[in-house]
């Protein structure tokens, strides 16, 4: 992220010094160390298990995984599995967080309903959402609905709780200021409370984005015949560890992509917060 910030702030001044070559990737010490560690782990992964006679179906090597990847791409319609999982991750994330935010704001505006509902919210928050997956399959069958529902459910709570928490801690003096300026209840909501809670909402969305992948995966593991979660259970059934490894890799990549997009949005939206110097 620092690279991006660097080049975006650097871009406008670049024409002023055309003679200087533009700095390429600032490879610093920590980055170098991280990359070296990755190379080391990959090397160990490639050579240690065969040296110890660990069978391929327990720990496949890096090259085994790459070979399997090629096969999956050609024979298992990998692209469509990735597309399906990515689609339902994003869809579940959007629906779940929109509902979480909406209900969080509504409860935040009504102390009465918040008190009435808070024990149930707490209970549902603690209940393991993924355990609902078999129920949803019983109710809706072997299609995309159950995995979407698990994702929505799992995404819903962190967003709701973050928004509700932020609504409780909005600066009373700011609200009084708005009242003194004769702002209506909705004016106070849109001009004070909403923007005040934005940092917490964004934090909730970031947590939710990582959970969304879990929701979809569990939904696909339990039922269905499409998606990376399905490939995991399918590969597991065939003792094809390389397939499982590859599916996990792509699930992680989907999660990272969603998270990265959110971080970008957050940087844009919360530009007014002073950045910590480091």
């Amino acid at each position: 992220m620092t690279d991006a910030a660097h080049s975006s702030t650097g871009a406008p001044v670049a024409p002023a010094s055309p003679g200087k070559p533009r700095a390429s990737l600032p490879v610093n010490g920590t980055m170098l160390a991280s990359l070296s560690l990755l190379v080391l782990v990959l090397l160990a992964w490639e050579f240690v298990p065969p040296a110890l006679d660990v069978p391929k179906f327990i720990i496949p090597t890096v090259t085994d995984c790459l070979a399997e990847l090629q096969r999956m791409w050609a024979q298992e319609r990998l692209a469509s599995h990735i597309a399906s999982t990515a689609l339902y991750t994003v869809l579940g994330f959007l629906i779940g967080s929109a509902m979480g935010a909406a209900i969080g704001y509504l409860l935040g505006m009504s102390a009465f309903w918040e008190k009435v509902l808070s024990p149930y919210i707490l209970a549902l928050q603690i209940a393991p959402k993924v355990a609902f997956a078999p129920l949803f399959i019983m109710w809706f069958g072997y299609n995309a609905t159950p995995k979407l529902l698990v994702t929505v459910l799992i995404v819903f709570f962190p967003v709701l709780v973050n928004v509700l928490q932020a609504m409780r801690t909005v600066d009373r003096d700011l609200v009084n200021l708005a009242r003194a300026y004769n702002l209506s209840r909705w004016g106070i909501f849109f001009k004070i409370e909403m923007p005040s809670t934005l940092p917490n909402l964004m934090a909730g969305l970031r947590i939710a984005s990582t959970l969304a992948v879990i929701g979809v995966t569990v939904g696909e593991l339990v039922g269905g015949n499409v998606g990376l979660g399905f490939l995991i259970s399918y590969g597991g059934g065939q003792a094809n560890a390389a397939m499982v490894f590859n599916a996990i890799l792509f699930l992680t990549l989907i999660g990272i992509a969603l998270y990265a997009i959110l971080v970008r949005i957050e940087e844009r939206v919360l530009h007014y917060l002073p950045k910590a110097e480091h």
Binding site: D171, A180, Y181, N182, L198, L273
Partner: protein
Amino acid sequence: MALEFNAVTKRFETNGGVLTAVSDVSFKVDEGEFVAVVGPSGCGKSTLLSMTAGLYQPSQGEVRVSNVPVTGPNSHVGFMLQKDLLLPWRSIVGNIEFGLEARGVGKSERRARAMQELKHCHLDGFERHFPYQLSGGMRQRAALARTLAVDPEIILLDEPFSALDAQTKLLLQNSFAGTIAETGKTTLLITHDLAEAVLMSDRILVLSERPGRIVAEINVDLPHRDQPLKRRVMPEVSTYAAQVFKHLKLEEKAEEVMA
């Protein structure tokens, strides 16, 4: 009469029973007058201010602003606290426009008035900045600009300088006094700083410990109300400050005797 308190008492219901914040407070403030209210902490100074702003109603008595009883938040009053209360997500000019938005002022006129107040408060060139980019003193000036932008009849200042360092405080007092004198606004300043009260006001009301009541009223008969820095070097200032101090001290002693 710009502001009038008639036998105002304010009680709050708390967990431990009923708390009387202010008791039987009566005073009047003339148009264009600058009145300071001093008193020990917790004497209900801020309660007076909140009742003037219409944020809550007196339990007994009546508050009148421009001869109209205050029944709720109203456009006659602009108030400012120790915290600048600038909205961090808005630019400085956006913050100054904030009060105008609720009053249905059109967009271009809002901007024009905000820019004018920006100049008034010596913040030209900072309209595009965000609050975190400004120093504490500048933020308070922006808060004053926001307060002035709605063109209130009365400005209520609740310890606006108390969070600032000593030098910034002096400069800001001077800047505020100049701006307020220029606009000719009626002002009520709540403070616990006796020197500040003497330097900035025409008249000082001294409040007692809780329940707050007015124990003294001192007319500050000094020139240069618009320039506290000039007033500051006058020998009479310390005499006035001593006088205020004496009144506060008396109350403390009375409390000790009763205890």
